[in-house]
Symmetry: C2
Subunit: 399 residues, 2 copies
């Protein structure tokens, strides 16, 4: 898929991506996002106990609420590499900050790829001059290409809006595509914006937007050691600062949720081996948490996922999964719909028109609704099916 | 696989299995186990909210602690069939008890197969005369054959032992093979014994033995609506009654755990599409519950399961899964071993001899050990890999 480079320009940001020799083929593997001035920054990281070295380093640095550069390599995750790996992450940061002539602690780093191998620091350092030399406003698509691993297509989303008299731009990029799960869905996602936002507001709405997007998708229920989502807001738009009390906050927030949702849904579409995107709406729950648990129990059921791949309207697997979520459900207060067609009502199957159901199941995007009669809370989740290709990709990925 | 019929005889028990026309091919689909006298009985059922009609009926009846017959059909789960399905379960029980001339509430019923279709009661009733006529001591293998669905081989285990001067026999049969998960692993498992055991002791040790066997295996992390495990003890051996205070209790218990473990491991070997059985030992945990959660997080990771299928010693996926189990783990207090070979120690990968690791991964039975440094509790879990065939079987199973 060819990306229109000009489309992804954010004032005050430069980007680039190159091949530095980390991956064995000639694919791009080193990516840089650079703000011409220090930016307000917020980030969310994996909750996995085994956090990769770059995650540990970034978690320290993000506390300042400021950052200016994000250096990412693909091909090596720098995870399960102990204190040496942490040192390697610091070394690449130092090499970059020296060349860019910026404060070292304004550099964030990220890695994705194979776990348990030392980062090829020398290769990264050798690539930095070329990487920096190529920095340009329209370099986002190259930067994106260089963070991809098993992704089949790049994931970039952009929104433009107005805060007062000023136009602001939000541009996000992400990579999937396996290990997509709750509590930080993406392996890596970066958002650049020229909006002027204060640190407290940025942190709060970024976390909320991540919850509504990356934390509402699932591909295979697996959580990575490297998941990282970062937003940089450099203020180049010159708008009045957006704070938690600004009237413009909802405008910015809606744009942000729009960008992150587009990216997270792209990740599901590009889920390893995915042939379908499935939207699961759980409505009428007592609490959002209940609705979320039921939605994830269905989304992470291999029996459900394989039925979707087989285009089989097997609603029995949906209720079996929903019933195992650990939420007490009055059996006769649960209705299940495929699009608008009821398949289960008041404790019994009501699927009659199998031809119509099979036609629904043959679509590339499925919509499934679980209607409870317990309250007014809901949760919407996007997931993918489980295909031969998922097994193929993951059985033959080399360590 | 040909079963030696004579091998599976338990004094005082008769069994049979026939084709009654529920399945479309000529495969056996109606199974009966019959004790010549009312037996002491205990049972464990699925914890799924959506319990199938026969489960709801049996849960009522088992309260008496007595049963004499287990009638099972395959090809139809009688699940998600509402009050009508409950009536159907009662109707088949009534038809059987009348013909056997036993109390109706001493009949337990079970169903396995497609969810959401009314039970073909007429077909079952029409088959009962032939089913009963063929009842015989060596009919266990036919009874087993008639409860199988996607199972590739029958699962029967037998143990003989002595209580005082009397020989006692324990014989168990089970079916898998998908929807194998914690909190009741098997779809269906029945144990017959001629031992004389009192109700309280039978219930207690049966639950404990189920925890150590069926609740310690996982194929796909999916929980069924129909899971049922039943034990009938008819006392035909004439041994002094086994109570919770008997010295003979441990002997009986060890035999029972032996039978159930053999059955549960057979279910894993026969897991849908399984090419390998994987034993996961989590040791040195603070609590058993922690060890169990970590073991299941690994066992249910599709990335781990596909790596096993691909014979790839991808220990990174093991620590990623272990780290997402929600248990706080000091990263440098976790060691991971493939058989006796360490692959991860003190926060970093130590896998060196890849040839040896690949040789280990090529085995039909894998042994994996997670050694924590937090306590003295442990948990041992058996699971299977995730293959093309799992997807094939479950994508093309017809609703």
């Amino acid at each position: 898929m060819k990306i229109e480079q000009e489309a992804y320009v954010v004032p005050g940001f430069l980007a680039n991506g190159i091949h530095a020799g980390i991956k064995e083929d000639r694919k791009k593997d080193l990516s840089l996002i650079y703000s011409t001035v220090p930016a307000t920054a917020a980030a969310v990281f994996t909750t996995n106990v085994f956090k990769a070295a770059p995650v540990l380093l970034d978690m320290e640095r993000i506390k300042s609420g400021r950052a200016q550069a994000i250096l990412t390599n693909s091909g090596n995750a720098n995870a399960a590499t102990g204190p040496e790996g942490y040192g390697d992450a610091r070394a690449t940061s130092a090499a970059l900050s020296k060349r860019l002539n910026i404060q070292d602690d304004l550099v964030l780093v990220a890695s994705t790829g194979v776990i348990g191998h030392r980062l090829p620091v020398k290769k990264i350092e050798s690539g930095l001059d070329k990487l920096i030399k190529g920095l340009r406003p329209e370099g986002v698509s190259d930067a994106e290409e260089a963070i991809m691993t098993t992704d089949r297509f790049p994931k970039i989303a952009i929104r433009k809006g107005r805060i007062g008299a000023r136009e602001i731009t939000l541009c996000g990029m992400a990579k999937g595509a396996g290990m997509i799960e709750p509590h930080m869905a993406t392996m890596l996602a970066y958002v650049m914006t020229d909006a002027h936002v204060d640190g407290a507001a940025l942190d709060r709405i970024f976390r909320r937007a991540v919850d509504q997007s990356f934390n509402a998708v699932s591909v295979d229920g697996c959580m990575s050691t490297n998941d990282t989502a970062i937003i940089l807001a450099n203020g180049a738009a010159g708008n009045p600062v957006i704070t938690n009390r600004s009237k413009s906050l909802p405008v910015f927030q809606e744009m942000l949720v729009g960008v992150l949702s587009e990216l997270s849904q792209s990740m599901v579409r590009d889920g390893e081996g995915a042939t379908k995107m499935i939207r699961i709406d759980v409505q009428g729950a007592r609490t959002c948490s209940d609705a979320r648990k039921i939605a994830y129990a269905i989304a992470n059921s291999n029996l459900f996922k394989t039925a979707c791949f087989g285009q089989d309207p097997n609603w029995g697997r949906i209720i079996a999964a929903a019933g195992s979520a650990g939420i007490p459900l009055p059996v006769d207060a649960v209705d299940v719909y495929f699009e608008e067609t009821a398949v289960f009502k008041q404790g019994r199957g009501v699927a009659r028109d199998m031809k119509k159901l099979r036609q629904i199941m043959s679509k590339e995007t499925l919509r499934l609704r679980i209607q409870l009669d317990m309250g007014a809370k809901s949760f919407c989740l996007y997931t993918s099916d489980l295909s031969y290709d998922y097994v193929k990709i993951n059985a033959h990925y080399h360590t």
